[in-house]
Amino acid sequence: MSDVLPNPIRPAFTETLGEDHVIVNIGPSHPATHGTIQIVAELDGEKVVRTDVHCGYLHRGFEKECESHTWHNLIPYVDRLNYCSALINNFAYCDAVETLMGIEITPRCRYLRTLLAEYSRLADHLTCIAASLMELGAMTAFLYLVTIRDYIYEHLADLTGARVTYSYGRIGGLARDLPEGWLARLAQILEQYEDFVGRVHGLMDRNRIFIDRMRDVGVLTPAEAVNWGYTGPILRSTGVPRDLRKDTPYLAYAELDFEVPVGIKGDNYDRYFVRMREMDESVHMIHQLMDMLPGGPVSVEDRRCVLPDKQLVYTEIESTINHFKLIIDGPQVPAGDCYVAHESANGELGFYIVSTGAGVPWKVHCRAPSFVHMGGAHRMLDGYQLADIVPTFGSINMIGGECDR
């Protein structure tokens, strides 16, 4: 190695505020930054004086890629935004395109999407809590939660074909219907979930060490949270009971009975507990949805976006042409723009799409909750200890794919 490698960022400060303060660089390759975030911190001993958070190390050009693929072809890119709960991204994007096209999805699709969105949210919260507990040293809790998450992954692989990034949502419906025995296995997994999460509750909730490390650390006030754009579990942990599923219900949420858990102090412990309670609420919703699932087709019979049945494609010329046009040109989405937001595991996940009437989008913008949360992260990091950076960061649940898109 002969040349000096270039520094991809310009930190906000290079001079310290105090005499014996030190500037330390944390990340972007760091076990506890959940991927690729760089925090340039000025330290006074162990106390963090100020931080400068840098993201963008996982910027993969999602928007630019979307502009050169058809509306259907970019569903795999959408998956890889919040890769912990990929199905929610799928459904939010499909909802945006369906809104612009004026498509009403079938009842079975609506309930299935709700069920799978809650299932995905479960996987996401499991990952977040498992990772943040592991970073505190609670390896057992990590292993319990990741085991359940693995069962969920295998189960979703039975349905969609993939474990992590599913590409299961389609414009106008879903890729396929549930296989035989899927719901029975779902009931089994939810039972095992109760058992394992019960153990984690027992290990963590009243654990003196855990409380000492998480209580009153990384505190966010409600006014601050709203000012800095926080939504989702972080906003709810401060005490603001905002949840898109309750406030402006979409999919089948209006028909479900669930609570919106809210914290009291806005610290790390509240964020952990809000997520644990939200997982329980998700399981409660899944149980209700399992009983409510209507029959019927899973995709609308709309030739503008849904591929015709394969038998028809092989026998009728109209279906062949339809199939061909949909694959090569893409579904023709009427010109205009729209913004549709769903409540993802991290908060308000919005898709702002602009169409010129073609089969290829003009613009697909993802309003990523993680990106906005990183903007205000320094409010939760400044003033606390160096060792608090790790649990605070873990409780924000920054997902790199979503943050940097």
Binding site: P28, S29, G35
Partner: protein
């Protein structure tokens, strides 16, 4: 000096082969990975390190989060141009012997991110020993990749005293 052009005695060759086998055996079953984790493949990395598909059985479970103490650089997920200097620096900071696994199709070739932002494969900046394709690869594929790396380590020469022995 030209005297070294003489071939070593068969007994010495036998010793070096056996030494290589022994050192190779020891090194392949005690890999210390540095998980250079960036993106979605991290989910599968977490799964493969956990109870259901355990990498501890292969000796490759204990991550060392500093390049100075690790010998296996697992590049998990997409490496962008912004991240490339960091990857290069981490690789340079590792001591010999070191191996690199490109975990996932984004690390192998850039995946389906063929644009201004993503590095089209980490082998553009560092040498790679094993490529594990998949988006993300199933845990079984990862274990297969680790086993292939172990075979590679077992087969290769391990000079420990000087260039020849």
């Amino acid at each position: 000096m030209n005297a070294n052009l003489k071939r070593p005695a068969p007994a010495l060759e036998y010793l070096t082969t056996k030494k290589d086998e022994l050192v190779g055996w020891a090194r392949k079953f005690s890999l210390f990975p540095y998980p250079f984790v960036t993106a979605c493949c991290a989910m599968e990395f977490m799964s493969v390190s956990s109870t259901l598909y355990d990498t501890d059985r292969f000796g490759a479970a204990l991550p060392r989060f500093t390049p100075r103490q690790s010998d296996l650089l697992m590049v998990v997920g997409t490496v962008t141009h912004k991240q490339a200097p960091i990857l290069r620096k981490v690789y340079d900071q590792m001591c010999e012997p070191k191996w690199v696994i490109a975990f996932g199709v984004c690390a192998t070739s850039g995946g389906f991110y063929q644009n201004y932002a993503a590095l089209p494969g980490i082998d553009k900046i560092i040498p790679v020993d094993v490529y594990i394709p998949g988006c993300p690869p199933r845990p079984e594929m990862v274990i297969d990749g680790i086993m292939q790396l172990q075979d590679k380590i077992a087969r290769s020469k391990h000079p420990i005293v000087n260039d020849r022995f």
